[in-house]
């Protein structure tokens, strides 16, 4: 078991966003979390990465409690997050953005190798590497955000709505690459998506979230054929 959320409850002030959720992810899996707007999907990721730590419940990463750790300590354990809305550094160049991803790493040789790998994965970034991050297109920014997270060489990659505001073709491309990352580096991926159809096609397993609760948990195939899911999230 790589990651386990046990009865996690997170609040924003007095408002409870997560009402005791249980999630488990094994090494090498792609797991997706789908749900409507405001269901608490992003909060789940923020709770894992420690940016909005849970008030109740426990989070284990490789059998270690991480819910009391600061965000930087969690990153150093091997959890990397691609925040919603990309959050790249607009005035830093693509290269500098990528270097920020490797902020906690001290192995410069391997960091350089990873950089090569990323430029192979996203050839467009090679052309753009001296351009300020803010001047990239939406799709390129998303690619940059994913690459930046990969630069930390994570064991677990948290992706928050990578399809947000992107053209269908670009989304497809990005999902392809997520699969590739998972396949070649055995990086575990936890994917939060509104685009349920695409996410379930990519993932091994899925969780469905409503109003701060997990209401369904199953393999992707089963979820795709589940009548309720089809009605509520796939629009079929």
């Amino acid at each position: 078991m790589l990651l386990r959320l046990d009865n996690v409850q997170t609040y924003y002030g007095n408002i409870q966003a997560l009402k005791g959720i249980h999630i488990h992810i094994s090494e090498g899996e792609i797991v997706t979390l789908i749900g409507a707007n405001g269901a608490g999907k992003s909060t789940t990721l923020m709770s894992i990465s420690g940016i909005t730590p849970p008030r109740e419940g426990k989070i284990f990463f490789m059998d270690r409690e991480i819910h009391n750790l600061t965000p930087d300590a969690i990153v150093s354990l091997g959890i990397s997050q691609v925040p919603e809305g990309r959050h790249i550094f607009p005035e830093l160049t693509v290269m500098e953005n990528l270097q920020m991803g490797a902020f906690l790493r001290t192995d410069s040789k391997e960091t350089k190798d990873d950089l090569e790998y990323i430029f192979e994965l996203f050839p467009i970034l090679t052309q753009r590497r001296n351009q300020a991050g803010g001047t990239l297109s939406g799709g390129e920014q998303q690619m940059l955000a994913i690459s930046r997270a990969l630069m930390a060489r994570p064991r677990l990659l948290l992706l928050d709505e990578p399809s947000l505001g992107l053209a269908p073709l670009v989304v497809k491309q990005i999902f392809e690459i997520i699969r590739k990352i998972n396949f070649t580096h055995n990086t575990t991926v936890f994917l939060v998506e509104q685009n349920a159809n695409l996410a379930l096609q990519l993932a091994d397993r899925g969780y469905v979230m409503e109003n701060g609760n997990i209401v369904l948990e199953d393999s992707s195939g089963n979820l795709l054929s589940n009548d309720n899911v089809r009605k509520a999230y796939l629009g079929i």
Binding site: I51, T70, D72, S76, H87, E96, F103, A149
Partner: protein
Amino acid sequence: MLNVSEMKKSLLVSIWFMFLTFPIMVIRVNPIEKIVEWRWGNMFLVGIGSFILSFIWRYFIRQKESGLKKVEMGEKIIPFFEKLRSGDSIYLRSLCMTLSCAAAVFPFVFSTYQTTIMTTVLMYVVLGLGLNIVVGLAGLLDLGYVAFYAVGAYSYALLNYHFGLGFWTVLPLGAVLGAFFGILLGFPVLRLRGDYLAIVTLGFGEIIRLVLENWNEFSFGPSGIANIPRPSFLGIQFSLQQATVYQYFLTIGLALCTIFVVNRLQDSRIGRAWIALREDETACQAMGVDKVRTKLRAFALGATWAGMVGVMFAAKTTFINPASFTFIESALILSIVVLGGMGSVPGVVIGACILILLPEYLRAFTEFRMLLFGAILVLMMVFRPQGIISNVRRTYELKGVPGRTLRD
């Protein structure tokens, strides 16, 4: 150029200015003879003046816009300073040589008064560079920076008064105390950003000043502390003139040291973390940057320089009181950073020169000094909103290898 619509615009401007300046330029009440003088001639002059100036103004605006257009068209306009840095290093080297020679002989050529002014400028260079760490690099708007300056000055004055500690002992102590107060301010404001941060830091600056003003037993209140010894050199007693020169060179040393350190900091890991923190806090946290520590470091390292300059200031003036550490002082230092170009070291140096030297040399026009000062600031913001020298971060390019760049 001289078409009707242009004339009309300028005419409107001149009428508007005549109207605006009417109460101060035209009416003069003479309370002794109890009459009102109407100086219509002045209004006429204002009208003519603003009419002509508006033409010049529009000319420069057009210049600027065409410059921007060129940049948009893909033409690269390399600013003068960049040319100097990237191009022929001979120019740069000779410029540096000239400057250092000029700096070395300055106190022997010019009067003590001029030397004192230059010392002040150098002090503000250091202050500006210190604040530049907080504001320019880390993006934390600090309006109470003068508090750390006061901490440094008072630590020297009080430690000397009570314990007889000398300048060289207190200089590092002032730095440490400055850093300590920086962290003290840093802790409560960690969660604040932007305007709120500015307000709290402004309050902090005022608190320090008010404490110094009112806690008579501790700081001797508004009457201040006098007879602070000048810096010594191996126990040699200097005459006033020698002491001024000595202090001048000390300040140059401190300024050079600051420039060196700030330059190194900018390109370091922590400097990168500051810049990233300025750009996007959430992303920074997701990258594993310790937000708390990074912010506190910025406050502490910024305040360190203010503490040191504070010690220097106390030793230079030999008398300090809280009136030297008002909000205006913070605003001046901030203006130096903003005018020079946020995050840019040479910008801050030039900014300090302009903002400190200008009021000094405009003393001849005492009445219009602040007016000119204000006008120059406004002009700067219109024509170079990025500051005189906008910050260009260094990039390292490996020549010869196509499609590959390395950055340190």
